[in-house]
């Protein structure tokens, strides 16, 4: 984990924010950087973030986990059921257990029996999808508010809080002033947007969200600073070398997959307990796969996954809270394309210059010509964004060297 790039990261974050600010002032569209949008984005990014971490744990130990979606589905169901019966915290626990079960199945198939990892994942997804339908048939049908495709609603939710002082949170019963909100309301260039973003990130926080974000530093620390972490990563980089040094690759792959399953289950639990208050069929909506894309975009590093998930979360946040503002996003894209075009001219790379100029023109036209993007098309924004993100990220990727390749003990013959 490098410390030197910290200033660079801050600059990379500041530039888009400044651009958003310009867009806001020009178009008068407040929603793009408002606290509501950012708050929703944060909430919506957590399932993708934790799903991405699930993918990371699996691939770092050497096993592709396409089955994250299925494990999330198990998480949503077991979470929804557990929360309905026993309350939200127990529900989250059950969600994790549901995911671990999925992880165990995947581990047995791929690590013990060396089934192709992608096939195992795809079959697991099928199994989970239909399995929870059957379970719903057994358990939810006939209960008030429940049916074959949803669970009865939960009665209590996980508590939310505001961070004290800066966001009007409570400290020992005293309600503190709300500094960030004050700044946001002023609407000044850049400062106002920054305040809006920070306020969105710090108020109305759910503990479920906090735990989700905590998986990032926790995973980074475990995987890069501990003995088990190093050995687990070696199982993904060079299992044969690790085996010759006495590392138990098989056992570590099981561990990695169980953790992966647990994380995926938690992500599912967030969907049915925090983001809503009941289980519904199709709740995952492909987020397991988006999580994998996030992991790829993040170059298999926790901080990268955090960055990628923020992006997707933002796309989902805008779609949910500020869908009228989507057409304004075209302006942002146009502006970004112009900036990249300038960079390309400076670097003398003609193809990139032409492509970015092209994109800028189309985006500008789209902004001016399109009033309202039809709802049926905005539904596809996150999936479209995934493709765009993956398309741009291909060059400097460094996946774990042996991820995806089955390993048998003693195979160094």
């Amino acid at each position: 984990m490098k410390l030197t790039g910290r200033t660079r990261v801050l600059v990379y974050l500041a530039i888009p924010l400044a651009m958003m600010s310009i867009v806001r002032l020009w178009s008068g569209e407040d929603a793009l950087t408002s606290a509501d949008t950012i708050g929703a984005s944060l909430r919506l990014s957590i399932p993708i973030l934790v799903a991405g971490m699930a993918g990371l744990w699996a691939e770092r130990c050497g096993v592709l986990n396409i089955g994250i979606e299925g494990m999330m589905i198990l998480g949503t169901w077991f979470g929804g059921w557990g929360a309905w019966q026993y309350g939200p915290w127990v529900g989250l626990l059950f969600a994790v257990i549901g995911g671990v079960i999925g992880g165990l199945i995947h581990a047995v198939a791929t690590v013990r029996f060396n089934v192709d990892q992608i096939i195992s994942g795809v079959v697991l997804n099928l199994f989970a999808f239909f399995g929870v339908r059957y379970l719903s048939d057994l358990v939810f049908v006939g209960k008030p508010g429940g049916g074959v495709s949803q669970s009865p609603p939960q009665t209590t939710a996980i508590p939310r809080f505001n961070i004290p002082i800066i966001s009007g949170g409570e400290v020992f019963g005293w309600k503190s002033p709300n500094i960030l909100l004050w700044f946001e309301d002023r609407g000044w260039f850049f400062v106002g947007d920054l305040a809006g973003v920070l306020y969105g990130l710090t108020h109305n926080l759910s503990w479920g969200t906090v735990i989700g974000v905590a998986t990032v530093p926790a995973s980074a620390w475990i995987l890069w600073r501990t003995r088990m972490g190093l050995r687990l990563r070696s199982s993904g980089e060079s299992p044969t070398a690790a085996e010759t040094l006495g590392v138990n690759v098989i056992r570590l792959r099981y561990v990695g997959l169980l953790v992966s399953g647990g994380l995926a289950g938690y992500a599912g639990g967030i969907l049915s307990i925090v983001a809503s208050s009941y289980y519904r069929q199709g709740q995952t909506a492909g987020r397991g796969y988006i999580g994998l894309a996030t992991m790829i975009f993040g170059n298999w590093r926790p901080i990268g996954v955090l960055g990628g998930a923020s992006l997707f979360g933002y796309a989902e946040g805008v779609k949910l809270v500020a869908s009228d503002a989507i057409s304004t996003l075209f302006l942002f894209v146009a502006l970004a394309a112009v900036l990249l075009m300038v960079l390309a001219v400076v670097n003398k790379s003609t193809t990139r210059g032409i492509v970015t100029a092209f994109v800028a023109v189309i985006a500008a036209y789209a902004y001016l010509a399109i009033e309202d993007v039809p709802e049926s098309l905005t539904q596809s924004l996150p999936y479209f964004a995934t493709l765009v993100v993956l398309a741009t990220a291909s060059q400097r990727l460094r996946p774990p060297a042996m991820a995806g390749i089955p390993y048998r003990r003693g195979e160094s013959h």
């Binding site: 600073r225 501990t226 003995r227 088990m228 190093l230 050995r231 990563r233 070696s234 980089e237 060079s238 044969t240 070398a241 690790a242 085996e243 010759t244 040094l245 006495g246 590392v247 460094r398 774990p400 060297a401 003693g410 160094s412 013959h413």
Partner: protein
């Protein structure tokens, strides 16, 4: 680790036998290794040396026989057990994680620290100390992917020493080194041995073995033939013990090089993404009935040169076959113009292991055996049978899947397939790698006969005997460029070695 006793051998093997499905690798092997000596184990490809060493290192258990370390009979259930007894192995094919740093590779499995957390500073301190004592300079935080071959070997040795190994096993350590690096390695080994370490050294390079070891055990066809000291034997006698007869060498034959140029390469350059050129401005030509040998340490552009000539990699410069410019032609087009390739890595570049031999033989020749768009199975099968017969591929029939063949026979099939295409220009990369001695001579004969009939050959080989015995001319590649051109008569290992390491730049 038990206390070392005077007079007790460091390692003693008695009647070790080990078999795998279909083959008996080791049979009743017995040998005794004295402490503080360099003990070599020699044998030809496939004799069973590697299997024996893997048994000693705990990667598998022997079917019968005993291993004694410092006088105590031991059973190694895994490498951890062997490591606990002070045995460390440096593999022929390095076992390093490219994306990890040097430090991470070395401490993996034996990380210093408390309660599960790694103490990075302590680890770095220890490793740096070890490197200093070995006389080696290395940056422990650099990713292994950036290291050269010699440095990687040093990392492997450090790995083993870090775990307190008192007995080192080195599996073919010099196969990737040039003569100067070999000298350095031997100096390191002598320093270790003087300090009390025991070294077991597997090789098939008899000159090196005679130069550095205290004792030599010869293994042939899975069993021990005898143990001698360098003083007792000559190279020839050693070769006889190893093969049962003298090692064949390709004898330089009178060549009749015809004036027609078959392959002309001008200013060939292959770029890599990070800007470095892996092949730099290479120019040469090969005439009809001529073999041009390319010497060089693996990784200096030979592989990329062949890829570019084949058309598999983009390049700048010009390539012509029989006068026809193919610089922008596809692989298919170049093959149609008469070029063929025996790949560096037969499994990765040449075979589909799970399919039958006849389908493997068909690869690249589908056009020849197709009627109206469909494969003529009978003709394809017959063609394969021809190759099997002509090149002596040991197999019950042509239906057998390629993975069921031994490495040497797989190589024979690949060479046979390429030769039966009757190319005008042959690119041959280590054509006899892994092939047992008897069949080596047969392959050399085939190449020579085709050469006499007019074929031009580009031969890349690390086996200097093969290279010097077959080639009419030799060029040396270093860092992607042609460093020198010599005639085989003038090329001694020392001279070649200096060109191969860039110590000297020649005409």
């Amino acid at each position: 680790m038990p206390e070392a006793q005077v007079g007790v051998p460091a390692v003693e093997l008695k009647d070790i036998s080990k078999g795998f499905p279909g083959v008996i690798a080791n049979r009743d092997i017995s040998m005794s290794v004295e402490r503080g000596t360099i003990h070599a184990i020699v044998g030809e490809n496939g004799a069973g040396k590697s299997t024996l060493m893997k048994t000693l290192y705990g990667l598998h258990q022997p079917d019968s026989g005993t291993i004694a370390v410092n006088g105590d009979i031991v059973t190694f259930r895994s490498p951890s057990d062997a490591i606990a007894y002070g045995i460390g192995m440096v593999h022929q094919h390095f076992m390093l994680a490219d994306n990890f740093t040097v430090l991470e590779n070395i401490i993996l499995g034996a990380e210093p620290g408390k309660r599960g957390v790694i103490d990075t500073r302590e680890a770095a301190k220890r490793v740096n100390e070890l490197a200093r004592s070995l006389g080696v300079e290395i940056d422990v935080n650099s990713p292994v992917a950036e290291l050269g071959v010699g440095q990687r070997q040093r990392v492997e040795i450090l790995k083993v020493l870090y775990r307190g190994a008192k007995t080192l096993i080195l599996d073919e350590p010099t196969s990737v080194l040039v003569p100067q690096e070999v000298h350095e390695l031997f100096d390191n080994l002598r320093r270790l041995v003087a300090a009390g370490t025991t070294v077991l050294f597997i090789s098939h390079k008899l000159d090196e073995v005679l130069a550095v070891s205290n004792r030599i055990t010869v293994i042939r066809q899975g069993t021990t033939v005898g143990t001698v000291t360098p003083a007792e034997v000559t190279r020839r006698k050693l070769a006889e013990m190893m093969v049962g007869s003298d090692l064949p060498q390709p004898e330089p034959r009178a060549t009749h090089v015809v004036d027609k140029v078959r392959l002309e390469v001008k200013n060939l350059t292959v770029k890599r993404l990070n800007g470095r050129d892996v092949v730099r401005d290479v120019s040469f030509s090969i005439r009809s009935s001529e073999i041009l040998g390319i010497a060089g340490v693996e990784g200096n552009g030979q592989f990329e040169l062949c890829s570019a000539l084949l058309g598999r990699e983009p390049s700048t410069g010009s390539v012509s076959i029989d006068g026809k410019d193919v610089s922008h032609a596809s692989v298919r087009e170049r093959m149609d113009s008469g070029i063929a390739y025996v790949p560096f890595d037969r499994q990765r570049e040449g075979l589909m292991l799970s399919t039958s031999l006849w389908e493997n033989n068909l690869l690249g020749q589908e056009e020849k055996y197709a009627k109206l768009g469909f494969i003529d199975v009978r003709a394809a099968r017959n063609a394969c049978r021809e190759v099997i017969k002509r090149f002596g591929v040991l197999t019950p029939n042509e239906e057998v899947p390629a993975f069921a063949l031994s490495g040497g026979n797989q190589q024979k099939l690949v060479v046979g397939r390429t030769m039966s295409m009757q190319p005008s220009v042959l690119l041959a990369a280590h054509p006899t790698r892994g092939i047992d001695v008897g069949a080596q001579a047969a392959v050399w004969e085939e190449i020579r006969n085709a050469r006499d009939a007019g074929m031009a050959v580009l031969l890349v080989s690390a086996d200097l005997e093969e290279l010097l015995g077959l080639s009419d001319r030799v060029i040396v590649m270093f860092e992607g460029a042609v460093a020198a051109e010599l005639s085989p008569r003038d090329a001694t290992p020392e001279l070649l070695g200096s060109y191969m390491t860039g110590a000297k730049v020649g005409a």
